[in-house]
C-alpha cells in the first residue's frame, strides 16, 4: 500500500513532464534534431528493439553483477573491519580517502588491465564504485551503536557475535540501505560511461556513442531510455527490499512525517 503510494507521485510527475516535453518540441523544434520528442524516441526504441534489448541485457548484467559483488565485498569488509578495532581505525579513514578518487576516471586504465573488449573492466569499475559507499556506511552503522544497548547485551553476558547479530547488524541496516540507494544509481551511470571506453561493443554505452556520432539522436536516446529503465528497476527493487528487511523503519519514518 505504502510502497504504491510512494511511487504514484513520481509516475504522475513523469507523465506530466513527458507531455510538456512532447508539446514544447512539436511547437518549437519540428525537425526533432538535437532533442527528439518522446514519440520519436519510442519509435526508435520499437524499430531497434532487438539491438536495444540486447544492449540492455549486457549493460544490465554488468550493473547487476557489479552491484552484487560490490555489496557482498563491502559488507564482508565492514564486518571484518569492525571486528578489530585497530583495523577499523586505520582502514576506514583510508577507504574514505580512496572513495574520493573519481573511480569512473579510471575506466581507460581498467581497460588496459582487463582487455579492451572484455566486460570485466566495466564490471570492475562498478564493483569499485559500489564497494566504497557500502563499506564505509555499513561500517558506520555497525560501530555507531547506542552505548547503553551494547552495555545491556554485555550485562546479559552475550557473546560478541550475538551482539553483532542482535544489535550491530540491525543498527547498520538504515546506513546500508542509504548507501545502496546511492550505489544503484551510480552503478548504472558508471557502467554506461565505462562502456564508452571499452568492453563489449553491443552494450548500451557504445550504442549511445555510435548513434550520436551518426547524428541518430533518437536511437541514442532510446539506449539512454533503456539505461534509465535498468536504474529504475534496480531502485524499485532496493526500496522493496528495504521495506521487507526493516519493517520497523517505515514506522519510525511515518512517525517523523516522512513518506
Amino acid at each position: 500500500m505504502n510502497t504504491l503510494k510512494g511511487f504514484s507521485a513520481p509516475i504522475v510527475t513523469g507523465v506530466v513532464l513527458f507531455g510538456l516535453w512532447e508539446g514544447v518540441l512539436t511547437l518549437l523544434n519540428p525537425q526533432g534534431f538535437v532533442l527528439p520528442a518522446p514519440s520519436e524516441i519510442v519509435g526508435a526504441l520499437i524499430d531497434n528493439w532487438d539491438e536495444v534489448y540486447q544492449g540492455a541485457r549486457i549493460t544490465g548484467f554488468v550493473v547487476g553483477s557489479g552491484l552484487i559483488a560490490g555489496i557482498i565485498l563491502g559488507i564482508l569488509a565492514a564486518l571484518l573491519v569492525t571486528r578489530f578495532r585497530t583495523a577499523n581505525e586505520t582502514i576506514t579513514p583510508l577507504a574514505v580517502a580512496v572513495n574520493a578518487i573519481p573511480i569512473i576516471a579510471l575506466a581507460p586504465i581498467f581497460n588496459n588491465w582487463f582487455g579492451l573488449t572484455s566486460p570485466r573492466s566495466n564490471q570492475a569499475i562498478v564493483v569499485a564504485l559500489v564497494f566504497f559507499p557500502i563499506f564505509i556506511n555499513t561500517t558506520r552503522g555497525l560501530t555507531q551503536v547506542d552505548r547503553s544497548q551494547i552495555e545491556l547485551m554485555e550485562s546479559y553476558a552475550a557473546s560478541r557475535s550475538r551482539i553483532t547479530r542482535e544489535v550491530r547488524i540491525p543498527n547498520a541496516m538504515p546506513f546500508f540501505f542509504t548507501a545502496l540507494k546511492l550505489a544503484t544509481s551510480l552503478a548504472v551511470i558508471a557502467a554506461i560511461v565505462a562502456e564508452y571506453f571499452g568492453g563489449r561493443q553491443d552494450a548500451l554505452g557504445p550504442m549511445i556513442t555510435q548513434s550520436a556520432g551518426l547524428t541518430r539522436y533518437d536511437e541514442a536516446w532510446a539506449a539512454v531510455l533503456a539505461g534509465t529503465a535498468i536504474g529504475a528497476v534496480l531502485y524499485f527493487a532496493v526500496i522493496v527490499l528495504e521495506r521487507v528487511a526493516m519493517p520497523w523503519h517505515s514506522l519510525i519514518r511515518a512517525q517523523e512525517g516522512e513518506t
Binding site: 547506542d146 547503553s148 544497548q149 552495555e151 545491556l152 554485555e154 550485562s155 546479559y156 553476558a157 552475550a158 550475538r162 542482535e166 544489535v167 540491525p170 541496516m173 526493516m246 520497523w248 523503519h249 514506522l251 519510525i252 512517525q255
Partner: protein
C-alpha cells in the same frame, strides 16, 4: 532451571548472613587517564550491601552514580580497588548473569516489538519460546502495557518505553537489580505505582536492589539505606538508614517519613555546599 543454580541457591541460603551481595573496597574510577580529557569520576568507594537490602544512591548530577552502578555491573573495570558481587569478582557475576539492569535511557531495540524486547534476556538464557511468551505477557501486565505487546518502541511515549525497560530488567527474576533512575521519565501517579510494584517484587522475590535516583522522597520511600554521594570525584559522603516498616499509601503522609526526607535533604545540602 539447571543443577548449577540449585547448588548456588543452596550455598546462598547456607551462608546468607555472612555473604555480602556487593563488596566494594577502595574502588576508584578515572576516565581517560593521562589524557587531556581525564576525568576523576570516583575516589575511594567502600560499600558493602547485604542480601535483601534496598540501597538508593543519591547525589548531585555528574557525581558518579551511574559510574558506580557500571562498576558493580562490571561494564567498566575500576581503576583501582576491588568490586565483588556474590563473593566473586564482578566480572564473574556478570558472566553468571547474577544481576538485571535498567539503564538511565530505556535502551530498547527499535527492531524488536515490545514483547520481543522483554524476551531478549530470556532468549539469551535459552528459555523456550512458550515460557518466554508467558513471562513477557506477565511482565507487560505488571507495567500495564499489555495492549502494546505487538507495538514497536518508536510508537511508545518515553515513559512507556521506560516501563518496558523495567519489565525487561525484571523478566528473568535476577537476585540483584541495578537500576539507574528508572522512574525519571514517569508521571507522578505512574511513578508511585511503579514504586509500590517494585517494592512488592523486591519483597516477594527477596532480591537485592541498588537504585539511583534524584528524588529524595523516592529514595526514602523505597530504600532500607540511602547512600549520599559527594560531587566529583564521587565519594560516599554519608549513609542514612531508613526504617519505616512496610510501605503503604499512608507512609507518604507519615511524620517519620518526612523526618527522613529532611535528614537526607540536609545531608545533600552539606555535600553540595
Amino acid at each position: 532451571m539447571s543443577e548449577e543454580s540449585a547448588v548456588s541457591e543452596a550455598m546462598s541460603t547456607g551462608e546468607a548472613e555472612s555473604q555480602l551481595v556487593i563488596d566494594i573496597r577502595g574502588a576508584t574510577k578515572v576516565f581517560n587517564p593521562g589524557r587531556s580529557n581525564q576525568v576523576e569520576a570516583l575516589a575511594e568507594i567502600d560499600l558493602a550491601v547485604e542480601p535483601g537490602e534496598f540501597i538508593t544512591l543519591i547525589g548531585p548530577s555528574g557525581c558518579g552514580k551511574s559510574t558506580l552502578l557500571r562498576l558493580i555491573a562490571s561494564l567498566i573495570p575500576p581503576s583501582s580497588g576491588s568490586v565483588q558481587v556474590n563473593a566473586k569478582p564482578a566480572e564473574q557475576a556478570r558472566l553468571d548473569r547474577d544481576y538485571g539492569m535498567a539503564f538511565q535511557t530505556a535502551g530498547l531495540f527499535d527492531w524488536r516489538s515490545v514483547t520481543k524486547n522483554i524476551e531478549l534476556p530470556l532468549e539469551l538464557m535459552g528459555w523456550s519460546k512458550g515460557d518466554r511468551r508467558r513471562r513477557a505477557a506477565e511482565m507487560l501486565e505488571l507495567v500495564k502495557l499489555s495492549e502494546f505487546a505487538k507495538h514497536h518502541p518508536s510508537e511508545l511515549s518515553g515513559g512507556m518505553q521506560q516501563r518496558v525497560a523495567i519489565a525487561r530488567a525484571l523478566a528473568f527474576s535476577p537476585s540483584l537489580l541495578l537500576m539507574d533512575e528508572p522512574f525519571g521519565a514517569l508521571d507522578e501517579m505512574t511513578r508511585e505505582h511503579m514504586q509500590d510494584e517494585l517494592l512488592r517484587i523486591w519483597k516477594e522475590t527477596e532480591t537485592t536492589v541498588v537504585f539511583v535516583t534524584h528524588s529524595i522522597p523516592e529514595a526514602v520511600y523505597l530504600s532500607t539505606r540511602v547512600v549520599v554521594m559527594s560531587p566529583r570525584p564521587g565519594t560516599i559522603a554519608s549513609t542514612i538508614s531508613v526504617d519505616l516498616g512496610d510501605r503503604s499509601a499512608a507512609t507518604r503522609d507519615d511524620p517519620a517519613f518526612f523526618k527522613k526526607v529532611t535528614e537526607v535533604r540536609i545531608a545533600l545540602r552539606e555535600v553540595e555546599g
